[in-house]
Amino acid sequence: MGDDYSSVWSYRLKWLYTLLVVFTLMLPVFYVIYVSFNQNGFGAAEYVFTFEWYGEIFSDLLLLGALGNTFILAGITLAVAVPMGLIAAKFYKATEAKLLTVSLLLSPLFVPADILGSALLVFFKNLNIACATIGEWLGVSWFDTWFELGYFSALVGLIIYTLPYIFVVILITMGRYNEQQTEAARSCGATAWQAFVQVEFPQIRAGVFSACAFAVILTFNEYTRTSLLKGGYDTITSVLISQMLNEGMSEQSYAMSSLISFIAIALIGSIILYTLVQSERLEREARAKAEPVMSG
C-alpha cells in the first residue's frame, strides 16, 4: 500500500496501469470469446448473438476426441511429473551439490522446443529400430511396438518439458518451510511419511497445487513436442493449429477455445487468489514472530 505519506492517487494510477496492461494482453482472447458467440462466425459483417456453437462442441467428434486426448496427456503428465518435482525439490533441499542438481533439473528449459522434440523423435525411432532388430534376432515380436510414437513418447516429452517448472514452483513454497518441524513431528513419534503428510505437506500445498495447474496448462499449450512425438493431429492445440493452417478454424473451435480460456482463467485466478491469501497469512505470521518477545 505504500507508506502513510504516499498519495492515494499514485496508488490508484498504478492499479489502473496494471489492469490496462492485463487487458491489452488479454484482448485477443476476448476477441475469440466475442467471435464464439456470433451466429455468423469470424469476420462476418453482421453480429448475431448465439450459444449455438457451444452446443455444437459436443457434437464435433474431432474436437471432443482431441479434448479427451489432451486431458489424458495432461492427467498422466501431472500424475507423474508433480511427484517427481516434489521429490526433486526435497532432494535439492537435502543435498550439498545444489548447483549441479539445479542445473540438471532446469536444463530442459534451455533447449528449444523443436530441438528437444526432434532429438526425442530420433531417439525413439532408433529405439524402435533397435527393438525390432533385437526382436528379429530373438525371434519374438512382443516388444516391437513398445517405443512407437504415441501416448508414451508424447508423455516423455511433456514430462521433460513440465518438470523444471514444477520443480521451481514447489521449491519456492518449500523454501519457507522450517525443517525443524519435521524433526519435532518425528520426536512426537511420527514416521518420516507421517511427518511429511501431516506437517510438511499442509504447508507446501499451495505450491503443489500451483504446480499441478502449471502442468495442465503447459500440456494444453504444447504443440511442437506433442505433435512431433505423438503423430496424428488429435490434441486440442494440434487440431486448432492444423485447422488454421488448412481450412481456417471452425466456429465450434472458437467456442472450444473460449471454453478452455474460461476454465484456464478461472483456474489460474483462483490459484493466484489462494496464493495471495496464503502469503498474506504467512507474512502476518512472520511479522508476529519478528516482534520482540516480551515478558509474560
Partner: protein, 364 residues
C-alpha cells in the same frame, strides 16, 4: 528407579565431513535428573543432543537409553522427545492440536486425548489459549506449547536445545525456574543444552561442560564453580583469575608453583603433578581483595604485589583491575555497597590478597 541410568554414551563421535564436531565422549545421566550440557558456541552441544534424539547418526560409539542400545534407531523409536529453540510449532494447528499431535499419532481415543491435552494445558499454564494459533502467541507461550507437546507424551527423556534462547532476559529467568519445577513435578530426565551459565546453574542437578567437541568436565553446579579440575572450566564459568606457572616442588599435598615473578603454594586437590610440569592456578575474582601496600594480612592469605588500574562499575558489583609485574591483569570483584569507598589512585602500588585454601590447581 532413581538409581537407573537414563542415558549412557560411550566413545561417541560425530564427523560432518572433515569437521569433527564430537570426539570420544563418555557420559552417563541418571534417570530423573535435570542434566545440563553447557559450553561455548560451536562446542558440539547440539550435536550431542541430536545424537541422543536420533536426528543424526553417530560416526562412532554407542548410545544406550535406559539400557537399550538405540544407536541405529530413528527418533520415533526412541524414548525421547525434543523441545527446539523456536519456530518448531506446527503453524497450521492450534495450541491444543499441537499438544495433542503425538497422542493422535498413537491413535488414542479422542476422549482420552482431550483429557490429557487439557491437563497439560493447565500444567504449562496455557489453560485459556487452547484455540489460539501459534503465530498469535508470544515467544514464552510458544515455548510452553512446545514443552506441553513433548511432556504430554510421557516419554522417559526430554531433550531441550536452547529452549529459552529466543526469550528476553527477564522472561528467561522466570521460565528457567518454571522448567526446574516442572521437571521436579513430572520426574522424568531432562537434558538441557545452553550456553548461558546462569540458566545452567539455575536448573541443573548435574552438568557437563562441552567444548571443542570434547567433554571437559562433569559435576554439580557447585562442584564446577568452586572446585573445577580443568583450567577450561575455571575460565569458562564465572570470572576467574588464572596464573600459568611451573611446578617447583611437591610436598605433603602442597604444590609450589613458580609464576616467574612470584611463587604460590596450592593444595594438590588429589592430583600429583611432577616437578617441572606446566600447570595453572586459579582464584575466583570475588575472593580477591585489594589492599593498600603495607597493611598487614592474615597468615592464611596469599598476597601478590600489583599496580592498581581502574574500577568498573557494573551495578550489582564493581570490578577492580590491577596489573601484575608481568603485565597480566587481575580482577577483583565486590558487591557495590553504595558507600563511598576511599578511592585508590590509578598506578599506585597495591597488595592483592586471597585465601590460600581457595586457590585451585589445574594440570590441564
Amino acid at each position: 528407579m532413581s538409581q537407573d541410568i537414563a542415558v549412557q554414551v560411550t566413545d561417541l563421535s560425530k564427523n560432518y565431513g572433515p569437521v569433527q564436531a564430537l570426539r570420544g565422549v563418555d557420559l552417563s545421566i541418571a534417570a530423573g535428573e535435570y542434566f545440563v550440557l553447557l559450553g561455548p558456541s560451536g562446542g558440539g552441544k547440539t550435536t550431542l543432543l541430536r545424537l541422543l534424539g536420533g536426528f543424526i547418526r553417530p560416526s562412532a560409539g554407542r548410545i544406550l537409553l535406559h539400557g537399550i542400545d538405540v544407536s541405529e534407531q530413528p527418533p520415533n523409536h526412541r524414548p525421547t522427545s525434543m523441545v527446539f529453540q523456536s519456530f518448531a510449532l506446527f503453524p497450521h494447528m492450534n495450541v491444543a492440536q499441537n499438544i495433542g499431535y503425538g497422542l493422535r499419532l498413537r491413535k488414542l481415543p479422542k476422549v482420552e486425548i482431550d483429557e490429557r491435552v487439557a491437563a497439560m494445558l493447565d500444567l504449562v499454564g496455557l489453560g485459556d489459549l487452547a484455540d489460539r494459533m501459534p503465530h498469535a502467541l508470544s515467544g514464552g507461550q510458544q515455548q510452553r506449547v512446545q514443552l506441553g507437546r513433548s511432556l504430554v507424551l510421557e516419554t522417559d527423556i526430554l531433550l531441550l536445545d536452547e529452549p529459552l534462547a529466543a526469550l528476553d532476559a527477564k522472561l528467561r529467568k522466570d521460565m528457567c525456574l518454571e522448567l526446574k519445577h516442572l521437571q521436579e513435578q513430572v520426574g522424568i530426565t531432562f537434558v538441557h543444552v545452553t550456553h548461558n551459565q546462569e540458566e545452567a546453574m539455575t536448573v541443573a542437578d548435574n552438568m557437563a561442560i562441552i567444548a571443542d567437541g570434547e567433554l571437559v568436565e562433569t559435576g554439580t553446579a557447585r562442584d564446577l564453580y568452586e572446585n573445577p579440575r580443568r583450567r577450561f572450566t575455571a575460565d569458562f564459568i564465572g570470572e576467574t583469575n588464572i596464573f600459568d606457572g611451573t611446578v617447583t616442588g611437591v610436598n605433603n599435598g602442597e604444590v609450589a608453583v613458580d609464576l616467574g615473578f612470584a611463587a604460590l603454594t596450592v593444595d594438590d586437590n588429589g592430583q600429583c603433578p611432577n616437578v617441572g610440569t606446566e600447570v595453572s592456578v586459579s582464584i575466583r575474582s570475588e575472593l580477591v581483595q585489594i589492599l593498600r601496600s603495607g597493611i598487614a594480612v592474615a597468615a592464611d592469605q596469599q598476597t601478590l604485589t600489583a599496580n592498581y588500574g581502574e574500577a568498573v562499575y557494573l551495578g550489582l558489583a564493581t570490578s577492580h583491575v590491577a596489573a601484575l609485574p608481568n603485565g597480566q591483569a587481575v580482577v577483583a570483584r565486590h558487591v557495590s555497597t553504595g558507600l563511598a569507598l576511599d578511592v585508590i589512585a590509578p598506578g599506585s602500588s597495591v597488595e592483592l590478597a586471597w585465601p590460600r585454601s581457595m586457590m585451585r590447581l589445574h594440570l590441564s
